[in-house]
Symmetry: C2
Subunit: 409 residues, 2 copies
């Protein structure tokens, strides 16, 4: 199977951040050509009036919570978790599967081609991702047995999930930790050992609320990142979501251990948890990507919103309109995110990379004018899911907008 994309404004996100007008050939699941030449192919997409982008990567969500949309509002994290656990307890495997299908479809509709998920029953979420052709980085959550509703031991469940899914093409299994507030040093050590043995990511919630910090100080005398550093948990395998309440010293520790941070500003603002000091993290060289968090706390899985909301919140927080640029926030959902999940084969449009591609309509009123000089600004600050015309994952078209279909007919 080959696909020829003609006449797109190609936002490559390569090392030079080149933007170029041209054509792309996709052979099998790989980008085999970018340039001015014409090729015959099994399918041709006329991308005149469209920008081609690397597919967006969402580095933190709980997709199986999609069915809780609109049911968990205007309350803080404490009340939120209480309600969530109550709703969640009554769900069957089928409910989880259906909810995951809905959430993955929502992500594809807004141009997401890869997502990182933290939940139990990731085997069910894997099935939903595979059914829809979605690339999924699934972290089976672990925590101390006394706190879990999982059947069996969470650490063993996670390892079983990794072993049974490690050869999947679209699904990359890994191990997660709910948070230090429900994970003993022993559980943390086991999770780390499994991630090293199977060479997987570790994904966790970290320093999300002031309460988490205060409780950890009461328990250990140390702040969360300080404690994780002391027990040797920090490494570049770790993708830590939130990181809202960090001291200067903790930012330094994350930087020196090359921990990757997933910034979830919409969720943090909606739950009034606070705002992460992303400007300070960037100055220390920390690799920052963006997460939507779940449909419970966001309430959408929309990276356009995440880009604009995160960038503008940071400008506001630092009182500096140049505190973060459109290019920096676009990097966070593409190339930085690919780095965070250790995948050099996605995150930019370059020959030899996997064909995870979004085509955005840029000839609609909300995107005019768009050209080489302002396209990055327009993607970060002006686009929305109505602009998503095509989504390709692993060389397959997984979404084609009704009007795009009409236009190409």
């Amino acid at each position: 199977m080959s696909i020829f994309i003609r006449n797109a404004l190609i936002v490559t996100q390569d090392a030079r951040r080149s933007v170029t007008k041209g054509n792309m050939l996709i052979s099998g699941n790989t980008i085999s050509y970018i340039g001015k030449k014409e090729f015959g192919a099994d399918e041709t997409i006329d991308a005149h009036g469209m920008a081609a982008m690397p597919g967006f990567i969402n580095t933190h969500t709980h997709v199986a919570m999609s069915r809780f949309k609109g049911m968990l509002n205007d309350i803080n994290l404490g009340g939120f978790l209480k309600k969530t656990f109550k709703y969640d307890a009554g769900r069957s495997e089928n409910d989880l599967y259906d909810s995951s299908l809905v959430g993955i479809r929502e992500m594809i509709d807004s141009g997401i081609t890869s997502f990182v998920d933290l939940y139990y029953s990731e085997d069910i979420i894997a099935k939903a991702a595979e059914k829809l052709g979605m690339r999924a980085f699934l972290s089976w959550v672990t925590l101390d047995e006394q706190f879990t509703t999982q059947k069996g031991n969470p650490v063993k469940n996670a390892e079983h999930f990794i072993m049974t899914h490690k050869r999947s093409r679209l699904v990359s299994p890994s191990i997660g930790v709910q948070g230090i507030y429900v994970a003993s040093d022993e559980t943390l050590a086991k999770a780390k050992e499994i991630s090293e043995r199977h060479k997987t990511l570790m994904h966790m919630h970290l320093a999300e609320t002031r309460k988490e910090v205060a409780d950890e100080i009461s328990k250990t005398g140390e702040r969360p990142v300080e404690h994780l550093s002391k027990i040797g948990f920090l490494s570049s395998r770790l993708l830590a979501a939130h990181c809202v309440w960090l001291s200067d010293r903790e930012i330094g520790l994350l930087a020196s251990k090359r921990v990757n941070v997933s910034w979830n500003q919409i969720s943090n603002s909606k739950l009034a948890s606070g705002s992460a000091r992303i400007g300070d993290m960037l100055k220390k060289g920390i690799n920052v990507s963006l997460g939507t968090d779940s449909n419970g706390s966001n309430n959408s899985l929309n990276m356009f919103e995440a880009m604009k909301f995160s960038a503008l919140s940071m400008k506001s927080l630092y009182g500096d309109a140049s505190a973060i640029t459109a290019q920096e926030v676009l990097d966070m959902i593409t190339i930085n995110a690919a780095k965070a999940i250790k995948r050099e084969d996605i995150g930019s449009l370059e020959i030899g990379k996997l064909a995870d591609i979004v085509l955005l309509r840029i000839d609609t009123p909300n995107m005019l004018p768009s050209n080489k000089s302002n396209i990055v600004n327009n993607i970060a600050y002006s686009a929305n899911p109505s602009n998503v015309a095509y989504v390709l994952i692993d060389g397959k078209i997984v979404k084609e907008q009704a009007s795009a279909k009409f236009q190409n007919a």
Copy 2:
């Protein structure tokens, strides 16, 4: 001409904020029936899987700036205005007209059926609004002659605009003021006198930046709202945009004079101007509505974004997830906004009101599940322009989504 809308989830925004499943009949430009009965009509829309809403009202923009999209980024208000004035100086009437058409189309695409605009050359913007069937509240901006690029005297231009457009069906002309930093007490007094004589709104920028406050204190010894109060400028005719930097006393003054506030959080955050103390204003009973501001400083004219961004910013600012609810923010773009512009015939779906209506798809992945109990949350926090299936203004269909057309065919 009559239109029958069948089987919608109707979010009325009436005094009881009723949400009901049913049908609506539109006769001419008016809502003539809401309930369970069936009617024959010139046109029938099957609204199964859709919510019906009063059209959104954007209470602050500069639509003719739409062509500056993506060209004014990551800079603060000082640099922003300098660049804007430079771009603006080179524009012809035709440029303004084309730019207004693009901006109005963008607004309609995201469900906006009325907007308040502050600019010179509002006669040109009026033409664009009438061509597209948009309801427009256009405030010709005034300022001291020494600061303007307008030909002739701004106050006379504004009055001429009001006189020539006061009988228009869709366009409501009014007078504006750029801001106290370019308007003498004499100019302010003349603007007020014209608004009283012609019974129009007054629309202005107010207390947008700390610099504006500091400069006014240097000049008069008073803060901006204090000064406007002293010269008798404050009244319920005034729709004041921004109001970011207010003292407790100034909030009290706005409340006691029943001044209406247009909250523009996206623009304020993007320019790093600050965050308005909306929670304190609501406690004092001030009528707050939402504005997008222009495509230069936003960079989109999208009320879904404005609702979510504003609500979440306020939760974050006050450190309280319940600081503002989805219902409150939805009120701000419908019934509160109608009150701000003195129009009792729009802002809710009730018999006898004008047929300014948005139909939103709620059966798409990003809106599932939607039902009576969570629809308000989902509109405020989950919807985006891709959900806008139909837009009706003054009883006419001004937008029909390609896929909706297909489905109804």
